[in-house]
Symmetry: none
Subunit: 128 residues, 4 copies
Amino acid sequence: MDFDTAMPIYLQVIHEMKQKIVRGTLPLGSRLPSARELAVSYQINPNTANRIYREMEAEELCYTKRGLGTFVTEDEKKVAEIRKEMAEELLCNFLKGMIELGFQQEELLLMIQTEYNKKKRAESGIEP
Amino acid sequence: MDFDTAMPIYLQVIHEMKQKIVRGTLPLGSRLPSARELAVSYQINPNTANRIYREMEAEELCYTKRGLGTFVTEDEKKVAEIRKEMAEELLCNFLKGMIELGFQQEELLLMIQTEYNKKKRAESGIEP
Amino acid sequence: MDFDTAMPIYLQVIHEMKQKIVRGTLPLGSRLPSARELAVSYQINPNTANRIYREMEAEELCYTKRGLGTFVTEDEKKVAEIRKEMAEELLCNFLKGMIELGFQQEELLLMIQTEYNKKKRAESGIEP
Amino acid sequence: MDFDTAMPIYLQVIHEMKQKIVRGTLPLGSRLPSARELAVSYQINPNTANRIYREMEAEELCYTKRGLGTFVTEDEKKVAEIRKEMAEELLCNFLKGMIELGFQQEELLLMIQTEYNKKKRAESGIEP
DNA sequence: GTGGTCTAGACCACT
DNA sequence: GTGGTCTAGACCACC
């Protein structure tokens, strides 16, 4: 993994794991890699790996069983809530910014459509 | 200004000024407050105020006439370009995030519409 | 058992067994479940179950007859002593904390009364 | 300061600072020592000092102004809430334990009175 | 000066 | 094996 230098590593990893949990790639209740394994796979320091799990625990995205490991939360609602939160933040941030720049609803809808299709085409272009 | 968020103060101020320029609240060629005045009005450190103008000059958003003050650029194209850049970044960031969360185009369009109208109604509700 | 709190599991179990002994739920001299049984009933690791008995033996709360099993101590005084110890620790901890928070004697007595009655009512409410 | 080995250092310091905030020794909005100063005064590592402030921030007990330092929250309600929480936890923990040990309300009240007076006498005995 | 992040390596307790 | 804590020391951005 190559990290964006603008954002701290631990936040980037958290973001990635959040997505995996939200999308179900990491199922509810499944065991996460141990902090040490995480450190190896992302090429980061064990302390940083620890921090990642500590922060995720604080958000109740996972919990840890002493001596056994760290596990994805089993609370489906919590996960749905996180997903909603993430979406709302994206949406709000987008709309707020665009309105401040003076864009109208129609323009926005149009932009979304063109850009969305472009992105999708790019995706499928890579592996058609 | 939020002194406690992740975004540094000088970037927050720059962002705000960019918007004002793009929207025409600060017209092309108009005189900007002096760094000292900026520091007072935003309650920030004079060094920080200086930095703001330094960075904006580097982006060619404004220029300084020695002894006269700092002025908004007169280059209309430059401003239009900045506006486009800001919009694209917002759009990209939004779409990237939403797609990662598994949203489809239709959902996005719908969300935009409802949220946009909500925001507009809120605005007009405050000052009808 | 809470696998995720700060208190280690083996201490949680010991605490629970201590209470049962002190209250007479586990009478003096009665046979305790084998470590294996303990492990099954509490869903814990056999090593942890072993440790529990080791520690309780060290505190002279129980003793082991080889081949027969582990038994609650028959020393009444010992049990009374443990009870006193536990009570004192609770009391000390409570008072120390409350005084540090600036509470006065009268407040404490009042709080105890209201909360005690609430707890009792709750108990009897469940199984009247 | 001498640390209790049973509890992690950072929690002990947090506990102490919480008390100071709750009791008003550290007034609302006042500047806390910088992480580096804290590290020196408690003879701990700067990282540990950092962690202390990070955790306190997460509890909204303090906030930090970038480049300026860390400050006690100005939210009086928050502080009152924390105080109540701390008191309730102490009370609950005490009552729960005592009831499990089979104590009655009268006994508890009596114990509180005697022990409270003992503690107070001890205090005033030191500096009469 | 301030806090924030990261690395490296150690020790401990728990399962 | 697991996570939790702590130390030591470094670098960076911000004010």
